[in-house]
């Protein structure tokens, strides 16, 4: 199974390069599309769902995609594999947990994935490291054109691409930028900043935390509207906001360095210390400290730890990844031990924050 190969890697969106990558982790675009001749997924019979999956598979097979592109029947996957794909952000919670025929088409480099029979028949997503929405859109548009040459999408001139939920109708476009904002969190400005942004029609939510808990100081900024504006304009609206957020975060980091240097050094040093020496550690605690270490590396306060390593640890210490990597199912307690081992292996050659 190729999913095991995938577990060893980190994928495009965690590569840790690209523009502004000290703060912007990744850019992501998704399109919602439906096949004209079927009802939306909630009204589909089992037979419909199977027929949709088959039609998409036929279309994919006829396209000039990489020969390594893999069609994965999600209904046949076990809990661990589904959770693994979710942690990897290649499938959604909804695709993982609902019943019935459903699938995901995976690019081996994880530059795109296509979910089949999620809320809509098709959810195409394209991922890119760093802040680079325009290349993400270019690749997305090409992928959409390719699929459209083989499939008939539900579309009207008035309303555009028709989707199961009216919140996605029109372009079906969701542009998301994932940001690492530890200094705005540390200086308690994050809520204020986001309340201001919500007024200008971009949505902000924490990442990795189910529900209200934002873990690892990772936040996702995305457009709310999908109708009435072109894809380029909608993208523009999100990308206009990002430099301001980056600027706020940089100012907050400067403030911490100039005004709270000892506290900052202490926090980062302790974080690295715990990650390097703990014998058992939960994924929440890991994310919390990795976030501080990531900021420490970016501020030049930690040597010998590279950003790609930190990004990799963010993902590889998630519960399903950890179990895939060690090749067996583990209890919560055993996972906490395994996670501590894994962290030590990868952080052992790093040195303490510069003392000055």
């Amino acid at each position: 199974m190729k999913l095991d190969d995938l577990a060893q890697k980190t994928g495009e969106w965690m590569r840790g390069d690209g523009p502004e990558s000290d703060i912007v982790m990744s850019s992501r675009i998704r399109l919602a599309r439906n096949l004209a001749e079927f009802p939306f997924v909630r009204k589909c019979t089992d037979k419909d769902r199977i027929a949709i999956a088959a039609a998409v598979r036929r279309a994919i097979d006829a396209l000039p995609l990489s020969s390594d592109t893999e069609y994965v029947d999600v209904a046949k996957l076990g809990d661990l594999d589904r959770q693994f794909l979710m942690e990897r952000q290649l499938i959604s919670h909804e695709l993982s947990e609902t019943e019935g025929a459903r699938a995901v088409i995976l690019d081996p480099q994880e530059r795109f994935s296509i979910m089949v029979n999620e809320e809509d028949h098709l959810r195409l997503q394209v991922m890119q490291s760093g802040l680079d929405l325009s290349s993400a859109w270019k690749r997305m548009n090409e992928l959409d054109d390719l699929l459209e040459s083989k499939l008939t999408y539900a579309f009207t001139k008035k309303l555009g691409y028709l989707t199961a939920c009216p919140t996605n109708v029109g372009t079906g476009l969701r542009v998301s930028v994932m940001l690492h904002l530890p200094a705005l969190v540390a200086t308690k400005q994050i809520d204020k900043v986001f309340r201001a942004f919500n007024k200008i029609n971009v949505a902000v939510r924490g990442l990795f935390g189910e529900g209200s808990q934002f873990m690892g100081d990772l936040y996702q900024v995305s457009n709310q509207m999908t109708l009435g504006k072109s894809e380029e304009t909608l993208m523009q609206r999100v990308s206009e906001v990002i430099p301001r957020l980056i600027d706020y975060e940089r100012k907050a980091r400067e403030f911490l360095i100039n005004e709270k240097r000892d506290d900052l050094n202490d926090g980062i040093s302790r974080a690295l210390g715990i990650l390097k020496t703990a014998k058992k550690i939960s994924s929440e605690e890991t994310m919390h400290y990795l976030s501080k270490v990531r900021m420490g590396v970016n501020l030049g306060l930690i040597d010998n730890v590279r950003i790609p390593t930190v990004n990799k640890l963010f993902i590889h210490t998630q519960p399903a990844h950890l179990q895939k990597l060690c090749g067996q199912k583990l209890s919560v307690s055993a996972r906490n031990t395994e996670r501590a081992n894994y962290l030590q292996q990868h952080l052992s050659d790093s040195v303490d924050p510069k003392a000055n």
Partner: protein
């Protein structure tokens, strides 16, 4: 019992009654419960919008109007407007035609717009009107076959084949060279086109 969001023991068991879809029960540890009580609203934009959508509908429409709208049913997939309002998801693309006037205020609220200006696919055969017309013709053909009216069924089969190959029901090529004329226009259909009675 464990907290829904982490591996600590759940010490708070909360029943949330504000959700329009009915009560939700949450099991949270102390820390997550604190975050829960301090939050301004649901963090997921999609569910927030669905809730907004449900509330907005209630506000915008007088009770009588709402009751009338709720009874409307899509002739293609059978979903009622009430079902959509409850679940926040439509049943098929034709719902956008069947519930057009009821959906419009929602679209204004969500998007501040009622018409698309963005990418247009090259293949414009995916209009819900066209799919609906095909369904009608297929139903009629099935009925004709059941009644052993094979001549009628044969004519219907030709009409279906014509639409499916991009012509109109009378076998004329309706696909001009430009994309503009490619979309189905039910109003331009033949006299027997009873499409309008459904909207």
């Amino acid at each position: 019992m464990k907290c829904q969001h982490c591996e600590k023991t759940a010490t708070f068991h909360i029943t949330e009654l504000t959700d329009p879809n009915g009560p939700t029960i949450l099991h949270l540890c102390e820390e997550h419960a604190r975050t829960f009580f301090n939050q301004d609203g649901p963090p997921d934009p999609a569910s927030a919008l669905t809730n907004m959508l449900a509330k907005q509908l209630k506000l915008e429409k007088a009770a009588d109007d709402l009751a009338a709208a709720d009874k409307k049913q899509c002739p293609m997939c059978g979903i009622t407007f009430a079902e959509f309002r409850k679940g926040g998801r439509l049943g098929c693309p034709y719902d956008y035609v069947a519930f057009e006037e009821d959906l419009e205020p929602l679209l204004v609220n969500i998007h501040g717009a009622t018409s698309h200006s963005g990418k247009v696919p090259k293949n414009l055969n995916g209009s819900p009107e066209r799919q609906f017309r095909l369904k009608q013709l297929k139903d009629e053909m099935r009925e004709a076959i059941n009644k052993e009216q094979y001549e009628v069924a044969g004519k219907l089969r030709d009409k279906i084949a014509a639409i499916e190959t991009g012509q109109n029901e009378n076998g004329q090529n309706e696909n001009g060279q430009s994309d503009e004329s490619n979309e189905e226009k039910p109003n331009d259909g033949p006299p027997d086109d009873d499409f309008q009675s459904f909207s």
